[in-house]
């Protein structure tokens, strides 16, 4: 499976060797292997961070504009000017659109498979979902560019007409639907399988006795889900969403194929244009000079920090209600 691990939560590593080994060869070897893997992971994380920071600092020293607020990407100019404002905005907006669309649908599908569908239907459905999660993103990208974009124009017009007053869905520029909104929809479709798959696993692990507690009180099927399944699965769904969000934030090819990039920030989500970190790196890397590459790496560092922040926030949400978690039931 092509689950990205670049946003993997902090590894459960070293410092906790447990009870000291008995001195048997097997114990020693296993201890060495597991400790070694843990340390290796930390070393890789650290070296990525160091590499990114170093190269980024080279570029930032040369930058004539403000890195955080500049709406332009011209490291080859004289003086070089580049900033991530548009990329940060585009990355966050497209991922947010993706999450808002994908997570509720994914939870719905997962509940259907785990609690509503007859078993004859549930097993093949679960299989198809897992299969979809493994489709490479470039396939989604091609499909999105050739199939989704033309079909979305109708949806865009409809949204503009009926939800245009919300500002978000007001389309002020004519043109094809190569917008952040379209990218968001495509990303939603891409992360849907992985979020569904993980959520389904979590929902299946709800202890039977928790569900029976609700049933015995005279709960309907939906009430059983509300009383037992969702509270128990909450932290799992958050983790699943973070896994999906990690994919959405870092997605490159699908975004690059669909979006028509431009360095503007607009809350009119349907207008074509915008950019994301990964898409910008992919588009500019080949033709960039030394400074250009370092500038792109600097933007990569921001993406790196962004995913760390997102993961940290998710962990906080999960930990906040730890004493209410189902673990000690």
């Amino acid at each position: 499976m092509a689950i990205t691990t670049d946003n993997a939560p902090a590894p459960p590593v070293a410092g906790k060797p447990g009870p000291t080994s008995t001195g048997r060869a097997g114990d020693k070897i296993f201890l060495g292997l597991s400790q070694g893997s843990g340390i290796l992971l930390l070393v890789i994380m650290a070296s990525i961070a160091v590499f990114l920071t170093y190269r980024a600092s080279l570029a930032l020293a040369e930058n004539d504009g403000n890195f955080l607020t500049t709406f332009d990407w011209n490291p080859a100019g004289d003086p070089p000017v580049f900033g991530i404002a548009v990329l940060l905005f585009g990355t966050i907006v497209s991922s947010l659109v993706a999450m808002v669309i994908a997570v509720p649908i994914a939870v719905g599908i997962a509940l259907f498979i785990s609690h509503y569908a007859p078993r004859r239907l549930a097993a093949p459905l679960a299989y198809v979902v897992d299969l979809l999660a493994a489709v490479p993103s470039i396939i989604y990208g091609i499909w999105g560019a050739l199939f989704l974009v033309p079909y979305l124009e109708g949806l865009n017009l409809w949204l503009d007409e009926f939800l245009g007053w919300t500002y978000l869905f007001e389309k002020t520029e004519v043109g094809v639907a190569r917008s952040l909104f379209t990218v968001g929809i495509l990303l939603a479709i891409m992360i849907l399988p992985i979020v569904t798959s993980v959520s389904r696993e979590v929902f299946l692990q709800v202890p039977r006795m928790n569900e029976e507690a609700a049933l015995a009180l005279g709960a309907t099927r939906w009430e059983v889900i509300r009383l037992s399944v969702l509270p128990f699965g909450r932290s799992g769904v958050i983790s699943a969403s973070m896994l999906g969000l990690g994919r959405a934030l870092g997605e490159t090819m699908a975004v690059a194929t669909v979006l028509s990039p431009s360095f503007v920030i607009s809350l009119h989500l349907l207008n074509p244009g915008g950019g994301t970190f990964a898409q910008n790196i992919a588009a500019k890397f080949d033709e960039a000079n030394e400074l250009g590459r370092d500038a792109l790496i600097a933007s990569g560092l921001v993406l790196f920090v962004l995913t760390l922040l997102v993961n940290g926030a998710a962990r906080l949400i999960i930990a906040r209600r730890k004493e209410y978690s189902g673990a000690n039931a």
């Binding site: 609700a214 049933l215 005279g218 009430e223 209600r321 004493e323 209410y324």
Partner: protein, 258 residues
């Protein structure tokens, strides 16, 4: 409050496997009826047919009639959800909703049944916790999670949750088997109090417990492993434990089983 249960010709299946065969009995209102018998004899299965929980298990189905006063629980137009609101259940392992506070656990059933004013709800929660002999231990921490209580307290919390909706019948499936002797005693005392208001059916592996708490006892047995369980006899508890009318009952009770 407190209705009579009248079971006739009840057979339950797991898929094609017949778990209990042709059971008929009457459970008197405002009394405690205990089910005893060896493992696998179908006493828990039978208990679960009394609030239509059996059919929740994949492949589970039931034939026969269970009359709750004048109403057949297995009539075509009866919604199992409504049945379970009238016939409450307490399980072998305490199972409070782990994500809910003590208060919300007790209020959960009421909230399912409809909307209550806050003051009404608080009143019922207090009454139920008092009814389950738990009020004094938890009144200062009603907003703490129910899963933080001890096993015995959790089980009494589950009883409070079950009686909060004022069921007609309270089913208990080995409610003390996961508890220490002191918590067990607390639950047994509680059962004796609750029978003033409810019809209680309890499954137990502990024959002293059956002798202590029940007014009537039913002995279940099975001919061999894989065979369906059957009701051997049901009678006054005193009679079952002193002078049962079937030899198999006496063998089981005196430990000369098999």
């Amino acid at each position: 409050m407190a209705k009579r249960i009248d079971v006739s010709g009840l057979t339950a299946y797991y898929g094609s496997h017949k778990a209990i065969d042709d059971i008929s009995m009457t459970v008197e209102p405002r009394s405690v009826t205990a089910f005893i018998g060896p493992s696998g004899c179908g006493k828990s299965t039978f208990l679960r047919t009394l609030n239509r929980m059996h059919e929740v298990t994949p492949g589970g189905r039931v034939e026969g009639k269970v009359m709750l006063d004048d109403e057949n629980l297995y009539a075509k137009d009866v919604d199992p959800v409504t049945v379970r609101r009238t016939v409450g259940m307490v399980f072998q392992r305490p199972n409070p909703f782990p994500t809910m506070s003590i208060y919300d656990n007790v209020a959960a059933g009421l909230r399912l049944n409809g909307s209550y004013r806050k003051s009404e709800l608080a009143e019922v929660v207090e009454r139920s916790l008092k009814g389950a002999n738990l009020w004094n231990e938890v009144k200062d921490r009603l907003n703490k999670p129910g899963s933080g209580l001890s096993g015995g307290q959790q089980q009494r919390l589950c009883i409070a949750r079950a009686i909060a909706v004022e069921p007609e019948v309270l089913l208990m499936d080995e409610p003390c088997s996961a508890l220490d002797p002191i918590s067990t005693l607390a639950i047994e005392d509680l059962i004796s109090e609750l029978k003033e208001r409810f019809t209680i059916v309890i499954v137990t592996h502990n024959m002293q417990q059956a002798a202590r708490v029940s007014d009537r006892t039913a002995f279940f047995n099975l001919a061999a492993v894989g065979q369906p369980g059957k009701l051997v006899e049901i009678d006054e508890t005193e009679r079952i434990f002193s002078n049962p009318s079937v030899q198999a009952t006496e063998d089981y009770i005196s430990g000369r089983f098999g």
